[in-house]
């Protein structure tokens, strides 16, 4: 999204097709135009990443509280040890030097050393990242597909029972705290309540000792409840956005034309209405990745999933400032990069964007 996007609400920067002269039809989209658009987006992303870097530094430096005192957790420490710690973490240098050191280190992938694990932050992150990608990726695909599918259904039967049922359920699940839903699922399906035996493990990612195919099955078994929780709290948003995007399209003339051609209702929906409604949906799916990160942190915490979210929780309960800072930088950068990738792909999907 550019700074001077059209004056429409958030996420709706995609306006109707500009009524340009016929000579510049939809395929007059040249590589040069795309390159200029792409470079603009990349530049914007670079500025955003820099802003994240600066925020990360000042947030954790300028706010009162001695990190070394926090780190030692109130245990009696000799002055020499305090000085040694300060030196080890570079806290004895002047602020500007800390800042330049920090920028240089962050850009080369060095995010400091965790107080708690006594290990480089970047190592902890790369250890946990695959697990988070497995959980988030599975959930992301499922909730986006489910949201788009049900949202289309609801909009097409606008005002009927199906619509009201789906909208109501989506709004309700959207209001449910994800960590609470996770805890309930654990009580009902892992601990077992009444006649229901404990069907699923209470947490973690593997039981240990399994190999080969049995290991894959074991991980999948552990994956089910966290994924169900994430999908349940996240699909509602996609559903509502798809629904309103499709409702926006439904009054359009081209749909009347399509029907007049004699197309079946089903085809009008799949071939004409949905593709047009999908773009704002995709935009918002990416803008909402930030919200998904929140869901991931909570779900991983509740299910003790050994991913970035669980790591974040461990870090902030100490608080292990370098780890919190590193994860903050990582989450923010990941979301910005994903959004930029999405921005770069849109014009290829829809030539109306980026002109």
């Amino acid at each position: 999204m550019t700074a001077d996007a059209s004056p429409t609400p958030a996420g709706k920067t995609v306006g109707p097709a500009p009524a340009g002269p016929a000579a510049h039809g939809p395929w007059a989209y040249t590589t040069a135009v795309y390159l200029r658009y792409g470079v603009g987006k990349l530049g914007g992303a670079a500025v955003s990443l820099l802003a994240v870097l600066v925020t990360g530094f000042f947030l954790f430096r300028l706010i009162p509280g001695d990190p070394v005192k926090t780190m030692t957790g109130g245990r009696p420490v000799s002055t020499e040890q305090l000085v040694a710690y300060r030196k080890e973490f570079g806290l004895d240098l002047p602020l500007w030097q800390q800042f330049t050191d920090y920028c240089g280190e962050a850009l080369t992938g060095d995010l400091g050393t965790s107080y708690q694990f006594r290990a480089p932050v970047i190592d902890k992150i790369s250890e946990a990242l695959p697990n988070t990608l497995l959980l988030t990726g599975t959930a992301f695909v499922l909730y986006t597909a489910l949201g788009i599918f049900l949202g289309t259904r609801a909009a097409w039967r606008h005002g009927r029972l199906v619509d009201r049922l789906h909208t109501g359920l989506a709004l309700t699940l959207y209001s449910v705290p994800s960590f609470w839903l996770g805890l309930l699922l654990i009580i009902v399906f892992s601990v077992g309540t009444g006649p229901i035996p404990g069907l699923f493990p209470t947490g973690g990612m593997e039981s240990g000792g399994e190999e080969g195919f049995a290991y894959v099955l074991d991980v999948a078994h552990h994956l089910i409840l966290p994924v169900v929780t994430l999908v349940a709290v996240e699909y509602g948003q996609t559903l509502l956005v798809t629904r309103s995007a499709l409702l926006d399209e439904m009054g359009s003339d081209y749909l009347t034309t399509a029907r007049a051609k004699g197309l079946r209702d089903d085809l009008v929906r799949r071939r004409h209405a949905v593709p047009n409604a999908l773009l704002p949906t995709v935009t918002l799916v990416f803008v909402n990745l930030g919200r998904t990160v929140a869901g991931v942190i909570l779900v991983e915490t509740v299910f003790s999933w050994p991913g970035l979210g669980g790591l974040f929780y461990q870090a902030l309960s100490v608080p292990d400032l370098p780890l919190v800072q590193g994860l903050f930088l990582f989450f923010a950068a990941a979301v910005i990069i994903m959004n930029t990738l999405a921005d770069l792909v849109y014009p290829l999907l829809d030539p109306r964007v980026g002109r």
Binding site: M1, A3, D4, P7, T8, P9, A10, G44, V47, S48, A51, V52, L59, F60, I63, G65, G159, T167, G168, L171, T172, Y174, S175, V176, P177, F179, W180, L183, L184, I186, I187, V191, G192, T193, T202, S244, L247, V287, L289, G290, R291, V293, A294, I297, L298, T301, F312, Y313, L316, S317, P319, L321, V324, Q325, L327, F328, F331, A332, V335, I336
Partner: protein, 307 residues
């Protein structure tokens, strides 16, 4: 639209005229709001919750949160004396639930007000002053929009002291960008109308135009947005409290859930400790969402739900 309010008498002052108009639009608003059943349900629920929270000092009193002389034994299951059982200190969970509503609602409301206030200020100024100022401001807004809000709020809450003020601030300063975008769009629409040009021609300054002409026109939108924000803020408060970043000295719904988890209510299957606070959070959040959507669809039928 026919209303029972008589047409303004000749010679009525401008102030009286304005009040009459305001009253008439309030009546019109209510007439349309009444047709949204979900909105009415939400409003009823909110009234109930507000009553419970406001009368809590009379019904349960502040000693319900005291750990020193708790009335029951720890972790009792529901009984006639304690309808929702007791917590790990032997405190009455029903009483705690009622008492916790005060903090959850207060923090939710204040954080939403803060967030909407920032959003409105940014939106109106970015829409009014064009050029570099607006560009920079909207860049910042977009940056905040894609940022993982909770991560930012957690980072803020981690480095600041544990208090309700911190929680309100952390939620408020991270959740304003949606409002800013909506308000800016509305400001641009309002500022293109001829009466703004007239106000400028008559010598109206920036402040006059923003405060007297733009603000009243974006106010309905801001109101709807604020109602919607509250539900997000209540959820965020619960989340921060659950992660142990809330004020440990006060009772809130999220805090109750955190205590329940720490006390091992999950593995021992003590559902009565966990279920009620979660339902309360979800119910209040849903009620605010329903109200907000109804208000939105009355004020802006194009954006609304029932279109």
């Amino acid at each position: 639209m026919k209303t029972d309010i008589p047409a303004p008498a000749a010679g009525a002052g401008p102030r009286r005229l304005a009040w009459q108009r305001r009253r008439r639009s309030a009546v019109r608003f209510w007439k349309q709001y009444r047709t949204h059943r979900a909105g009415l349900v939400g409003m009823t629920a909110l009234t109930l919750f507000a009553l419970v929270a406001l009368t809590a000092p009379l019904t349960v009193g502040s000693d319900v949160a005291g750990v020193t002389d708790a009335p029951g034994r720890p972790m009792e299951s529901p009984s006639g004396e304690f309808p929702l059982g007791t917590d790990r200190f032997g405190r009455d969970l029903l009483g705690l639930l009622v008492w916790g509503s005060r903090v959850s609602l207060l923090v939710g409301l204040l954080a939403a007000v803060l967030s909407v206030a920032i959003g409105t200020l940014v939106g109106i100024t970015a829409g009014h002053f064009k050029g570099a100022y607006a560009t920079v401001l909207m860049r910042v807004t977009d940056w905040f929009l894609v940022m993982p809000t909770l991560v930012l709020a957690i980072a803020l809450a981690t480095v600041m002291s544990r208090s309700l003020g911190t929680v309100i601030l952390a939620i408020g300063v991270t959740s304003w960008p949606t409002t800013a975008r909506l308000v800016r769009a509305q400001t641009l629409a309002v500022e293109s109308r001829p009466y703004i040009e007239r106000a400028k021609a008559l010598g109206g300054g920036h402040r006059h135009i923003m405060a007297r002409h733009v603000l009243p026109n974006v106010m309905p939108l801001v109101l709807a947005q604020a109602t919607l924000m509250v539900s997000g803020a209540i959820l965020a408060e619960a989340t921060l409290a659950f992660l142990g970043l809330g004020d440990p000295t006060v009772v809130s719904w999220g805090g109750l859930l955190q205590e329940a988890r720490e006390a091992g209510a999950v593995s021992s299957g003590d559902w009565w400790y966990l279920v009620p606070p979660g339902i309360a959070i979800a119910a209040v959040a849903l009620a605010f969402t329903l109200c907000g959507r109804a208000v939105e669809s009355v004020l802006n039928p194009r954006l609304g739900v029932d279109r």
